[in-house]
Symmetry: C2
Subunit: 311 residues, 2 copies
């Protein structure tokens, strides 16, 4: 998503005056992400990313930021916010929660190869271990219980094949619920698609966008990665990618026997979760677009302005 | 907007158990409003409206709710939240801020007549007076400064006539800024379109949706009403409506000389403000819809699910 919240140079300069980071040199909006407004910001002290949260409460942001700082303190490459002169790291900007983070080095990759999969596997295992001692954990609001409550609401928008698939998969996941519950739990990223990683020339990987982090099965986090990084859009595995991912992960944290046995079950659950959330998003957006077209024509107020000017 | 946040009977029953309002009898989503999810809720104690805030922080909601309670305590018909057994009126539901208010009596009217305009004028003046002693006031984030910063960002989406109109009106408003600043200020509703009012059989009017309330010129609030209640979609005044609105308002609070002199200026500003915000909303929605179509095809994860099931 392009920038939601517009920001003037004066507003940004005022915001930056709280920090000991020198004066503003330049900034520009980042046309990515659909939850937040993001800006690249250059100051005398270096390169930063400013994030304004559009859809999260300050409480939720505090959870994310606490996790990011915890991981950053242990040396992981994640966007950990910088503190201002008063030691505050969570701010208000345009009446919304906002944070300022150092800009992490590296580039996005468009088509992950086995070496990228190995690197992200290893980085994810490090994240799982580094986050383990941070409590309390945020509950996952897109977990099994959400699948069960959301699925039936979407049925009317599905064709017969889709409906059959959804109902059958929900039944399968329910039947194997005990297997899920036997999996090791902890903080998970929850949304580690390849556009949430940066690779730098030194081979290091940075993990972005911790805003879906929550409690969950660690193996589920790995399955989200596999379903995005290791296959094409039809789900066909790319040569060597899953193997590299699992191998990279296990150099840091070996999988348990329950995890090894549950891999396909969890891959299915991870695909189901994003199918459901995308269906829901599409339905809401269609409703919004439809209502907007019907009800909120800007031209109405342009006409009214023209009339008032003619009075 | 239809319901954003899905809610199960069990979730709602759990939520209601905090209140001394008896047990849940029925509920349904309300397909109106684009900022919040709203539900009609019937309990043993009566009829309520549950609001889940989708885009506001708990801090912002606290501001709105404080105002609603303040107005309600002075006898105005506004949605003032009820407290639970612990005396709390602001809650979390599905990780979002939520309030429960008594359902106000009355019906929306589709085409306001002079008697409705007189009644809303009088009710708005009462609101202005009743709110005056509540501080601090929330700043208006859609005020003159927002017009100035937002207008130029929208220019690329406008044709030549629209661009000329926008630039000329911004210059006019800037030239007359001193006249605005001479107007009496206070809490304003900020969005009192006719779908934010309910008329009951006894002729009483309830004012809904205080979520844009902020500090501002009182006359601007009246101009927002005039531009919506008192004219057609082309801005042509309907017979007798503005006169009834102003007369109803002044039975409670007479306009000052500066207000009488500034009426057309403020009518123009109020039309400009909603033209700008609707243009901005349309642009953001188009971007969202476009990105969704390009990037977030649900079918991708349906295919992946099918593959994982076949493994």
């Amino acid at each position: 998503m392009s920038v939601y919240t517009p920001l003037s140079t004066a507003e940004l300069e005022h915001f930056l005056s709280r920090f000991a980071l020198g004066s503003l040199q330049s900034f520009r909006g980042i046309t990515a992400g659909i939850e937040n407004s993001n800006f690249f910001v250059s100051t005398g002290a270096g390169e930063y990313v400013l994030t304004i949260f559009e859809h999260h409460t300050a409480d939720e942001v505090q959870d994310f930021v606490r996790l990011a700082r915890h991981l950053g303190q242990q040396g992981l490459r994640v966007p950990a916010p910088v503190a201002d002169r008063q030691g505050e790291w969570l701010h208000q900007l345009k009446h919304k929660p906002a944070i300022l983070c150092p800009r992490l080095p590296g580039e996005h990759i468009s088509n992950p190869q086995p070496e990228h999969c190995a690197a992200i596997g290893s980085a994810l295992a490090q994240l799982h271990i580094a986050a383990a001692d941070l409590s309390p954990m945020r509950p996952d609001n897109r977990d099994y219980h959400w699948w069960l409550s959301t699925g039936p609401q979407l049925v009317s928008a599905l064709n017969e094949q889709e409906r059959g698939l959804l109902e059958d998969e929900l039944a399968y996941q329910t039947a194997h619920r005990a297997d899920w519950l036997a999996l090791p739990q902890g903080w998970i990223h929850g949304d580690l698609f390849h556009d949430n990683a940066l690779f730098s020339d030194d081979g290091q990987v940075a993990i972005l966008d911790l805003y879906n982090a929550s409690a969950g099965a660690l193996l589920y986090d790995l399955a989200v990665v596999a379903n995005d990084w290791c296959c094409d859009v039809n789900g066909v595995w790319k040569d060597g990618c899953v193997e590299a991912l699992l191998s990279g992960y296990q150099t840091v944290r070996p999988l348990t026997a329950a995890e090894q046995a549950g891999w396909n079950l969890v891959l299915r659950g991870a695909a189901l979760r994003f199918w459901l959330s995308r269906l829901l998003t599409r339905r809401l957006q269609q409703q919004q677009a439809g209502e907007l077209a019907l009800q909120k024509d800007p031209a109405e107020f342009m006409q009214k302005l023209l009339r008032r000017r003619a009075q």
